[in-house]
């Protein structure tokens, strides 16, 4: 049916091709238009095309605020990156830890714990966010009551609460990716390292973690992106400016109206997440045993 010879003659092949092109237009088209409009010299963030400009990136005038001169946008970008880095580090540590727990250890209730570990992926982000909010709210209140007001600040909405809230579900993803890789690891490699003179810790560091590295890097990129774009959970847990991430600020701006500055933000995000996304695909490709 699909042999190379009759491919191009078959009418169904043309149908398949048109279908795929339509789908690609559907998925990539809107973003492409957004991308183009970031450079359009038109306040309306729409067509017609009124000439090329970089104003939406660099302009300093108050009526035409360029992204890189918008202090709130820049601050949110910084917060997003800080949050994402913290979430990535914690989620990777947990992911490696959990992988060793589920692959190497035997304990009663292991299957139950594995199912439980998948939970944060299944629960809607709204519910996850509100449940963590109410839980930490109660902790903060009782800390304030016992040790005087201010004692529970760590558990009030803010940077660390956003980080913890995101770790709750991002760590599930990193765990899945790293566990899958560790399952492929031949444990006799670790024994071989010990046989050749390594201590157990050295063997894990030099052989096992090295083997896991493609998965760890891939998972780290995914964790970073998940954190960077999260809205549902973050919305409840962010407080003042130090925890206002890009999605939060974008949401509040979009409710008031569109401006080409957001097109410019989109361009920056498309390029940076695009690169990260490509990298993660690359690392998952390299995720075979030879890596």
């Amino acid at each position: 049916m699909f042999t190379a010879k009759n491919k191009w003659k078959s009418p169904s092949y043309w149908f398949y091709y048109s279908y795929v092109i339509l789908i690609v237009l559907f998925t990539a088209g809107p973003l492409l238009i957004t991308f183009i409009l970031a450079f359009n010299n038109n306040e309306a963030a729409s067509f017609p095309w009124q000439g090329f400009t970089l104003d939406w990136f660099y302009s300093k005038t108050p009526d035409r605020m360029g992204l890189f001169n918008d202090p709130r946008m820049i601050s949110a970008l910084g917060v997003s990156i800080k949050v994402a880095v913290a979430v990535t580090i914690l989620s990777i540590l947990l992911g490696v830890n959990n992988a060793f727990l589920f692959v190497r250890e035997k304990f009663i209730g292991k299957e139950f714990f594995y199912m439980l570990m998948l939970g944060p992926l299944v629960v809607p982000g709204v519910v996850l966010g509100t449940s963590i909010l109410s839980f930490t709210h109660a902790i903060a209140n009782s800390l304030d009551m016992t040790f005087g007001s201010g004692a529970g600040t760590f558990f009030r909405p803010g940077f660390w609460l956003v980080v913890l809230g995101q770790v709750s579900f991002v760590a599930t993803t990193t765990t899945l990716v790293i566990t899958a890789r560790l399952r492929k690891f031949d444990q006799s490699l670790e024994e071989a390292a010990m046989d050749l003179g390594s201590s157990r810790a050295q063997a894990i560091l030099s052989i096992t973690l090295r083997f896991l590295m493609p998965a760890i890097i891939g998972a780290a990129i995914v964790a970073f992106l998940f954190s960077f774009e999260n809205f549902n959970t973050t919305y409840f847990l962010s407080g003042t400016a130090d925890s206002t991430t890009i999605p939060i600020i974008l949401y509040s701006r979009l409710r008031f109206g569109l401006s080409p500055e957001i097109n410019a933000v989109s361009v920056v995000l498309m390029i940076s997440t695009g690169i990260l996304g490509l990298l993660s695909t690359f690392f998952q490709k390299g995720d075979d045993l030879s890596a």
């Binding site: 809107p30 304990f107 944060p120 974008l250 097109n263 989109s266 997440t273």
Partner: protein, 283 residues
Amino acid sequence: MFAKIKKNKGLWLVLTPHLLWIGLLFVLPHIKLFWLSFVDKRSGALTLANYAKFFQSELYRHVFVHTALFAILVTLITLAISFPTAFIVTKVLGKKMKAVVLLAIVLPYWISELIQVFAWMVLLRETGVISYMLQALGITSHNIEFLYKDATIVVGLVYTSILFMIIPIINSLDSLDDSLIEASYDLGGDFWSTMREIIIPHAAPGIVVGSVMVFMLNLGNYVTVTLLGGKNSLWFTENIYNQFIVRFNQNQGAAFGVILLTFSVLLVWVVLKVTGQDMTEAM
């Protein structure tokens, strides 16, 4: 059990962080939420009033049913679009084309949902690109508002969901040996019978996993529905946000959260039971 664990220091070393994470950031918060939903906001007494409010209010019930039906509808449309795509990508396209097309479909998915929604707002709003195009082509003479309609919400949700459906289906179709399709043709099967008896059964796990994920994501969606649907979106998650953020009524919000969670877990459980699929295996 404990005697065993005491001996095994290594187990404690990895079990402790795991328990801290899943316990403090998942289990206890949900217990707290559950508990709150049965507590009266003012008196702190145990009550069923928060649930009663849901079942007595026609508006809340309507919003809930509306959300559930639309989530299902979006799931079905997404499946209808994604299955042919996944099939073509895995079984028709050559290796290079496959990589290119996959990338074109996958990359947008990495970008924040807010940007995706923004892109559609740029297209659909009254002064948006589509409205402009229609006028430029002379089809209409005035601005047309495409936002704030049920259909807009559906388009937006399908858009943000497509990838969560395509990837699991591609994964399951990838493992289908092409020679099985050829064998089916060899034995006299045609396109539809091969589809029905070979390809779809093989892709079933991917279809189920994709549908379950898309359904849950849509049920819990907030950004897409509120931005594209505006005040008319009638999405249940809005009630939860409102109770927590606007009205500071944690208890009512908790009850709504529990209702949403229970419904989604129940529906997913029924789907998995009926189709005989195992979520953990497919993930």
